[in-house]
């Protein structure tokens, strides 16, 4: 466990040396404040559009951070050849995968906390209403969901030829699930066989990360808290997917030949 945490620590240190997070945070803050400075029909009580845009920016920024951070971890180690002394420590390949995952996941968690605090401050200053527990639920679901995304990206980094390819494909997959995932079975119902079965299988196979994305509406429209049991079920569901993806990543990594050439 210490080895895994040490590896995770390296990822976190690398993260605060890089500029990705700062740039995205400043960009999100700037765009949100710029949007917030706009008034419509001289009415300063309108806040929905600000929440909508800020939450969307937070989602985009966190997805970019999670995907780009995790996609480059193992390829960068291979490219700089630091993977060889790392594996010679001795550190097992499973520990490398887990260490990289936890590092990226903790970075994502830290990012989410900061972004949601910013969101709470900006919107609270406008509407004088702070539903903190709802923000906690949203941030938790967001973080759990990013676990799946990071797991997917780590697996992709071992399958695809370059981080850029991996990031592009992951963006398409995650974007597809977020926008279409929940509707696949509705579309399947109107199809004929075998398309119906294929689409239905896909619907049950994909991790439904869009639940966390849909949660934004509950914040936007001041809906009550959701049952914690539902949060628990989602946590277990995404946790299972993350574990399965990490297992798959480890299996691929175990069979991967690492050469100096």
């Amino acid at each position: 466990m210490n080895t895994v945490l040490a590896l995770a620590g390296v990822v976190i240190k690398e993260m605060y040396r890089r500029k990705d997070f700062y740039v995205l945070f400043v960009l999100t803050a700037l765009l949100t404040l710029l949007t917030g400075s706009t008034t419509f029909f001289n009415d300063d009580k309108i806040v929905g559009y600000l929440k909508e845009i800020c939450l969307l920016l937070i989602w985009v920024a966190t997805l970019v951070i999670a995907l780009t951070t995790s996609a480059r971890q193992i390829p960068a180690e291979r490219e700089s050849r630091t993977i060889f002394p790392l594996l010679a420590k001795p550190v097992t390949r499973l520990q490398v995968v887990l260490g990289k995952f936890f590092g990226c996941w903790l970075v994502a968690g830290f990012t989410i906390v900061l972004f949601y605090i910013f969101f709470g401050v900006v919107t609270g200053a406008r509407e004088h209403h702070w539903p903190w527990l709802q923000y906690v639920q949203a941030a938790w679901l967001h973080w759990m969901m990013l676990g799946v995304v990071i797991g997917m990206s780590l697996l992709g980094s071992l399958v695809f030829s370059a981080p850029s390819v991996n990031v592009t494909i992951m963006f398409i997959i995650v974007g597809g699930i977020l926008t279409l995932g929940e509707h696949l079975h509705k579309v399947a119902l109107r199809m004929t066989e075998p398309s119906q079965s294929i689409l239905s299988a896909l619907y049950f196979l994909i991790p439904h990360v869009e639940w966390a994305f849909k949660f934004r509406d509950l914040i936007l429209f001041d809906q009550p808290l959701i049952p914690w049991s539902a949060v628990g079920v989602a946590t277990v569901y995404w946790g299972a997917y993350t574990a399965a993806l990490l297992l798959a990543a480890w299996l691929v990594f175990r069979r991967k030949t690492l050469t100096l050439g």
């Binding site: 419509f40 029909f41 001289n42 009415d43 009580k45 309108i46 806040v47 929905g48 559009y49 679901l141 929940e182 509707h183 079975h185 509705k186 579309v187 119902l189 109107r190 619907y203 049950f204 439904h208 869009e210 639940w211 966390a212 849909k214 949660f215 509406d217 509950l218 936007l220 429209f221 809906q223 959701i226 049952p227 539902a230 079920v233 989602a234 569901y237």
Partner: protein, 307 residues
């Protein structure tokens, strides 16, 4: 190699030199008021495609987030078609998509039938959908108590994206004036709309309505409605299928205005005229009878000297 680099530099210099020259001429040639519109600069004419999406977003806000997706709409349409095919009655889902199309008048009905259309969700098909329902809005409510203002940014954006979309101005004016009591803002917005669409009889009618109802300036309202009728004749009368309801509405409002002002003969004349455009001319006949009765009584009271 050096020759090609020089050629690239020459082309770049030409492009940079031409850009400001073209910019000035394009703006002059464009001659439109929204030449400095940021959306126009970035998206060009393509921005109009998103205008309707902004109106839909306003509607989503109005329904507090419970809104049928295109997939739900397609499912509802199919279900409706199946029911029709079987000779069945009205589908409970009430054609989810169509049920959400609004205009200014329709919004009044909305408050009365809250929760009327949440059924498009139906029962969950599987455990994934059932679990997913926890994370989304499932209760159909309408924004109320001043929170209707949340729809305004989307309508404003829609107008910015497509300044020729007249319905955006009239619907926004309805919400501003009738629901949020921001009549001045409504009038200003309608005037913006009129500048972008000088021939719009709908905007002129709406402006007249605000002057009559909220500012109690019948003369101004009358002038605007007369102008609206003129515009209707200039634009709609030439159409293959003119907006008869539009003209009928202007005439009825004008008739009511004349009635309020005591110009009964003019009111009757306008009501008679409106009959040709109204879907319910019988109702107008009843109204004409009432006006005639009122006119008779007024004449009687004038003829009878006071004791």
């Amino acid at each position: 190699m050096r020759k090609y680099i020089l050629l690239v530099i020459l082309l770049l210099t030409t492009a940079f030199s031409l850009a400001p020259w073209l910019q000035v001429r394009l703006q002059r040639g464009n001659n439109s008021r929204d030449g400095d519109n940021v959306f126009k600069i970035f998206f060009g004419e393509g921005r109009r495609m998103f205008a309707n999406q902004m109106v839909v977003q306003a509607d989503v806000y109005m329904h507090s987030g419970l809104y049928p997706s295109i997939f739900d709409q397609a499912a509802a349409k199919k279900e409706y078609a199946d029911e029709e095919g079987r000779g069945g009655g009205k589908v409970a889902t009430e054609s989810a998509g169509n049920a959400h199309e609004h205009d200014a008048e329709a919004h009044d009905d909305h408050d009365e039938d809250e929760h009327h259309d949440a059924s498009f969700l139906g029962d969950p098909h599987d455990w994934i959908e059932a679990e997913g329902r926890h994370f989304m809005v499932t209760k159909h409510t309408h924004l109320a108590g001043g929170r209707e203002r949340e729809i305004l940014p989307w309508l404003k954006l829609s107008a910015e994206l497509d300044p020729q979309r007249i319905e955006t101005y009239t619907v926004t004016a309805y919400w501003l004036a009738d629901r949020l009591h921001e009549t001045n803002q409504a009038v200003n917005f309608l005037r913006d709309g009129l500048r972008a669409n000088p021939n719009s009889y709908e905007i002129l009618f709406e402006l007249g309505r605000l002057y009559a109802m909220f500012y109690h300036q019948p003369d101004r309202a009358r002038n605007l409605w007369h102008l609206a009728l003129r515009r209707w004749d200039e634009v709609e009368a030439r159409q293959k299928e003119p907006d008869k309801n539009g003209k009928g509405r202007i005439l009825v409002y004008l008739a009511e205005l004349e009635f309020q002002a005591g110009n009964y003969a003019e009111a009757i004349h306008r009501f008679e005229e409106a009959k040709a455009y109204s879907p319910q001319p019988e109702a107008l006949d009843d109204r004409i009878k009432e006006v005639r009765a009122k006119a008779g009584a007024a004449q009687g009271s004038l003829a009878t000297p006071p004791h």
